[in-house]
């Protein structure tokens, strides 16, 4: 493998090959699919957050001209077992997946699908929904996690028992799961501490907010074979879910991942796919469904709202001695919050001899949550990183120094006991300290600088890629990883690097479930890492075969051939060589065409650390926060295409800023009050400054070039960094997200009246 200084293509910034289709509007995203005779699907959704479905009458809808079919939960097989299906970074019980597609007997959240229509036009499908009669018996609603944990809370599921290491609970509960990690003796540790800070935190549900609404189109051929065109991060996940929900063998299903307009963890779930398949089965025609934005908000996974209580103790010199974390994560209607992710991230960046982490996964009458960029990590980091800031302030220690003093290194252990492979947290913190932003003066009233760090494990999983070769000497690269942010470019760069070709000579594409071998989805920051390894392996396999072919062309034994700088040379005879392009052009004469396959799996963890540094101003009259300067730091191992690495850092930071300042689901009795982009406010170009990035490259333990996944960790530190900066600017510690103008203003007013009271 080449060393850092020798790369020709890795680390450069070529134009992404798929970009042309995107800037010209020619690329097909899921909603752009238009097929002959296609019908339009609309979904009827529950107006109640919790109710029994007593009866559904679809006869009037069916009688409407243009309506071709109506389906309800009765059309889906009933799954009684607790069989699970994979859905990106989590697994979910198949019966709950069924309920997310079409409710059977009962609805658990407002917006849950109850029936679906296929009609010749969108307007007709819409009109038909109003003709479906559903009789509900509303049930008591619980839409708050702490309420849901109480003994007398309304129960969502009669058959849900708390799962933990100790086994299953004895009576039904809204507490679906309990995670626990511990080390040392917390009481003893706290007793030894010179300063102990204990705080409570609340965060609200937030949505992934991908701009492309969830969609799916399906066609079922007369022989039963199913084709699905959909917007997904994981075509194989969708195939598995559809097969399980509909009880159809996977081999009957082909999932074609279309161009995808953002996912962030939220597009691993077959919300619509089984429904359009059912409707196509009934009508024999292709059926397309596209959600409205309100449906996306109310019926596709947001990230959990949380309640966190955290206590950390430190010695006078800044050494952390004990931590106690109590976390409740809202799963929404069905179990599966990312509390597990929270339990192994928030405190893992620091060596703490004594800690106890207790986390609960709790169901409520809200939309079922889904993974969102570093799932679980952002809320707990908000707690940990603000408490550390407070400790640093109490002890008069620089906040970065406090982290450096306690930072983990290779061989140290995460909270779950797993030892770290190569990591670059200390290098990252050092880079922050030396950065011009950290050392720039910041003066004035109502301005402050804040810092916070973040950690994410990063996934690996399985990837398969194929290389095929063209008679003009070029190479086709077929990957199965959905490309959301430029992976066709980065994967092509690896091929160009390894085979000594130019970027333009590599033709990447994303294949579907029938074109390329198995692939886990694009999530968990795994694609550049794991698919990158598969591409690298495919290249090595190709080179091995090319040596045989070159040997034939040069009339020597294959063992005598070496591959150097794009040429296959006879050892000891540098003048006798053939270029790789020649070998590719002549494949059919030297033994026939072949394809090179690369499969990755079982890679070591390649964790990512990141940090945010922010300068901001707070308007004392309104509490409005204005971001003045932002630098996002991250250890990326090796940046293959630096522009898209920077893009991941900037995009994650922007999402973190949205989570920190604007975004939240507002509920009243289980009804979301703000399901539009007007009332659920994403950051706009006007809200943000340029987002500077500082890329640190500490090679990962495994895989080519030392690369690490880069997608997720950038969302983790921003809320805490902003809270810490607000404190510097105003003297108030914010412990609730989002830190809206109103909340900041209230906190400032309360502080003001406290100060005045103390003075009088």
């Amino acid at each position: 493998m080449a060393t850092a200084t020798q790369y020709r293509v890795i680390g450069t910034r070529p134009i992404r090959p798929d970009g042309y289709g995107k800037v010209t509007g020619k690329d097909q995203y899921g909603a752009d699919v238009i097929l002959p005779g296609m019908l339009y699907c609309k979904v009827l959704r529950s107006p109640h957050p919790h109710a029994i479905i007593k009866a559904i009458d679809v006869s009037k809808a069916l009688a409407l001209p243009g309506v071709m079919a109506v389906v309800t939960g009765d059309d889906l097989p009933r799954i009684e077992s607790s069989e699970k299906v994979s859905s990106g970074e989590e697994t979910i019980e198949a019966r709950f997946m069924t309920a997310l597609c079409l409710a059977q007997d009962k609805v658990y959240f407002k917006g849950q699908p109850v029936a679906a229509v296929a009609a010749t036009s969108l307007a007709t499908a819409q009109e038909a929904l109003s003709l479906i009669e559903v009789e509900y018996e509303p049930l008591p609603v619980v839409d708050d996690v702490l309420e849901a944990m109480k003994e007398d809370a309304p129960l969502l599921h009669g058959d849900l028992y708390t799962e933990s290491l100790a086994g299953k609970g004895s009576k039904p509960s809204n507490i679906a799961g309990r995670v626990e990690h511990a080390r040392g003796d917390v009481d003893k540790g706290m007793a030894e501490a010179d300063v102990v800070i204990e705080r409570e935190f609340r965060t609200q549900m937030v949505h992934q907010g991908y701009i492309e609404p969830t969609n799916s189109t399906a066609y079922v051929a007369p022989d039963g074979r199913i084709t699905i065109w959909t917007s997904t991060q994981g075509a194989w996940d969708i195939r598995n879910q559809v097969a399980t929900i509909l009880q159809i063998p996977e081999g009957m299903i082909r999932v074609i991942p279309m161009e995808i307009g953002g996912g962030f963890g939220g597009k691993f779930t077959a919300y619509l796919d089984p429904v359009v398949v059912l409707l196509s089965q009934k009508t024999g025609r292709p059926v397309k469904a596209v959600m409205t934005r309100a449906e996306v908000f109310q019926a596709t996974g947001p990230s959990s709202g949380t309640y966190i209580r955290l206590k950390i103790g430190a010695k006078r010199d800044g050494t952390l001695v004990a931590a106690d974390a109590f976390m409740v994560y809202d799963a929404g209607a069905f179990p599966g919050s990312p509390v597990g992710g929270a339990s192994v991230t928030g405190l893992s960046p620091y060596n703490i001899p004594n800690f106890k982490i207790l986390g609960f996964d709790v169901v409520t009458n809200r939309p079922r949550v889904k993974a969102y960029r570093a799932p679980g990590a952002t809320a707990i980091a908000f707690a940990v990183e603000t408490v550390l800031d407070e400790i640093a302030e109490r002890l008069g220690i620089d906040p970065v120094d406090l982290r450096l003093k306690n930072a983990v290194g290779p061989g140290d252990r995460m909270t779950n006991g797993v030892p770290y492979p190569s990591i670059g947290f200390r290098e990252l913190l050092t880079a922050v300290k030396e950065h011009p932003h950290y050392n720039a003066p910041l003066e004035g009233k109502w301005v402050g600088r804040g810092f916070a760090a973040g950690f994410w494990m990063n996934g690996s999983g399985v990837s398969t890629v194929h290389l095929t070769f063209n008679t003009d000497g070029t190479v086709n690269l077929i990957e199965g990883s959905t490309d959301i942010g430029g992976t066709r470019a980065t994967m092509a760069q690896i091929v160009a690097e390894e085979l000594w070709l130019e970027m333009e000579e590599v033709k990447p594409m994303v294949g579907d479930t029938q074109i390329v071998g198995f692939n886990d989805g694009t999530g968990g920051s795994r694609t550049t890492y794991s698919t990158g390894v598969a591409v690298w392996k495919a290249c090595q396999n190709a080179i091995a075969e090319f040596k045989v072919r070159a040997a034939r062309m040069l009339e020597v034994d294959a063992e005598e051939i070496v591959f150097e700088a794009g040429d296959f040379k006879v050892k000891g005879h540098p003048d006798r060589s053939v270029n790789i392009r020649e070998v590719i052009r002549n494949l059919r004469h030297t033994g026939g065409h072949f394809e090179a396959v690369g499969v990755s799996g079982g890679l070591k963890m390649a964790p990512a650390f990141g940090a945010s540094l922010v300068d901001l101003a707070v308007d004392p009259e309104t509490g409005k926060v204005e971001i003045l300067r932002w630098t996002q730091f991250q250890d990326v191992g090796k940046a293959i295409h630096p522009s898209y690495v920077e893009g991941q850092l900037q995009g994650g930071a922007a999402q973190g800023i949205g989570w920190a300042l604007y975004e939240e689901y507002i509920f009243r009795d289980g009804h979301m009050l703000n399901p539009t982009f007007l009332d659920y406010r994403l950051p706009t170009a006007l809200d943000l400054p340029m987002i500077d990035t500082c890329i640190i490259e500490v090679p990962a333990s495994d895989g080519p070039y030392g690369v690490r996944g880069v997608g997720e960790v950038s969302i983790v530190p921003p809320p805490a960094a902003i809270a810490n900066a607000i404190y510097r600017a105003t003297g108030v510690r914010m412990n609730e997200l989002p830190m809206t103008s109103e909340r900041v203003w209230r906190a400032m007013s309360q502080r003001q009246s406290r100060v005045e009271q103390e003075a009088s």
């Binding site: 800037v23 953002g262 934005r293 959301i484 995009g651 922007a654 982009f677 006007l686």
Partner: protein, 168 residues
């Protein structure tokens, strides 16, 4: 219910006629009837800008405009931005500057940015941010988009200076 209405307009430089149901939005007609799916739908209620097209020189959320309102209008969509296979400088610079990740917001940004540069060839960063505030991007944090628009403005200015020199 009224029947379909014939709408005459100039679409990407071509005179055209299409049928529109009076309740259909311009966005729906562009996408589902004329199969110009380059214009995207992100929200359907005027809050994301993915559906931005230029109508009579102004950027419009096509999800908020009825197709029948386009009678006699001059409409520009992303499909009309390139001249043959020559990209518009905005398109070229968006690619060079990596101003897109998933790309779903890109057509809307390109059209909004074109509308801006058509009337203000030398905008400041603040003006760009203000003008593009109606277009949401969830992937990029806007940094590279804003830089690309500023750079495209410069390219366009240089091009028109050159053209002026040639004609002088």
């Amino acid at each position: 219910m009224l029947g379909k209405v014939v709408v005459r307009a100039v679409l990407n430089g071509q005179e055209c006629e299409f049928l529109a149901d009076p309740r259909q939005t311009l966005l729906e007609v562009l996408r589902e009837e004329l199969h110009l799916t380059g214009t995207k739908e992100g929200c359907g209620n005027g809050n994301c800008g993915a559906c931005t097209v230029i109508v009579n020189g102004r950027p419009v959320n096509s999800c908020l405009m009825l197709a029948v309102q386009a009678q006699d209008a001059v409409i520009e969509t992303v499909e009309g931005l390139a001249r043959g296979s020559k990209l518009h400088p905005l398109q070229q610079v968006f690619l060079e500057e990596a101003a897109l990740q998933c790309g779903i917001c890109t057509p809307g940004f390109l059209m909004a940015a074109k509308a801006l540069l058509d009337v203000n060839p030398d905008p400041t960063e603040a003006e760009v941010r203000h003008y593009l505030a109606g277009n949401l991007c969830r992937c990029t944090g806007y940094d590279k988009i804003v830089r690309a628009v500023l750079k495209a403005a410069q390219v366009l200015r240089e091009e028109s200076e050159k053209a002026a020199e040639v004609s002088a």
